[in-house]
Subunit: 159 residues, 2 copies
DNA sequence: GTTAAATACGATCTTTTTTGTCGTATTTGA
DNA sequence: TCAAATACGACAAAAAAGATCGTATTTAAC
């Protein structure tokens, strides 16, 4: 999907929070819950999934918690979104059947090409946008310019 | 919202269908239903809304139907989406309270700026993309290059 | 070792959103 | 007058999203 729902929101909140900490310092879900009012259980599951995928590193036990496990400058927003919500898809008829595959509708749909094209545009944009950029680079670090890809919309549409 | 749901899908299907017809020629919802398998009632309501907004022109009575009422090259995808789904918003916390206004979450949310920024980017892209372009320009007509706006993401983020 | 605090994870329930359907009125050409 | 179409409001069904519960496991501190 394409939208920032709760899962993605909790993920971004958590990542932004953890990014501000010293390397190695852990953040518990309880901490997130009390600081931002996010529901404990729901946020907890999000962190678990992120930890499974290596975005976070989890430390169990008494003083456990999570810390950032990957360079956020190398984690695209597309990737993060896919981890939590599945393939970025602007319409339900896209995405499930293999990568950028076929549409489902009964048989005759006259807007398959346009929809796929729009979906590809959004995808490319999300793929070129790192989570670090999205959250705002904290100190220095090189700045990029995440933008929609520059090809001609029409030309691509007939490919 | 941000996604191509049924309403938007029916709208695009209808518009693409009507665009292929001679000027003044009408299209009934029944015709759309049988040609594309879209549910009559749902599609009908979509066309009614589009007619209210001037995107379509409706002709009542026995041989009535709809025809395109506005130059699709001057109708942005953003506008179409807003007519049917309300303000383009990548997250629920954006859009309802006035234009690009405040977020709702309890009080403390640390990702308001990033989310608003991402939302603005998507908005600008949708606003620069005409429905004519999206559906694929049929004959000739000047071609544009709808792309995400070119400003620096970071620079804007601090504005 | 026992306890407390934290993650891990499955299952379920509730709420919200989306989608479709029904009923009825109105228009208009034949 | 009838048939075919749009016009709309209200409701129902289905799907998705979100939150919660229950229980197990890990680990530091006492
Ligand atoms: S069914 Fe995929 S665009 Fe219509
Ligand atoms: S509440 Fe709007 S971004 Fe968090």
């Amino acid at each position: 999907m394409n939208k920032i729902n709760r899962k993605l929101e909790y993920a971004l909140i958590g990542l932004k929070h953890m990014r501000a900490k010293a390397p190695g310092e852990l953040t518990s879900v309880k901490e997130l819950a009390s600081a931002y009012g996010v529901p404990f259980d729901a946020a907890s599951r999000v962190m678990q999934v992120l930890a499974q995928k290596g975005v976070l590193i989890s430390e169990q036990g008494a003083h456990g918690g999570y810390m950032i496990g990957r360079d956020l400058a190398r984690l695209s927003y597309a990737e993060l979104s896919e981890i939590l919500l599945g393939k970025v898809a602007i319409a339900r008829c896209i995405g499930d059947s293999a990568d950028e595959g076929a549409c489902e509708m009964r048989g005759s749909c006259n807007i398959v090409t346009p929809v796929q094209m729009l979906n590809r545009k959004i995808n490319e944009f999300y793929r070129g946008l790192s989570v670090a950029e999205l959250l705002g680079v904290p100190s220095s670090k090189k700045k990029r310019e995440p933008e929609m890809p520059q090809q001609n919309f029409e030309a691509e549409a007939e490919a």
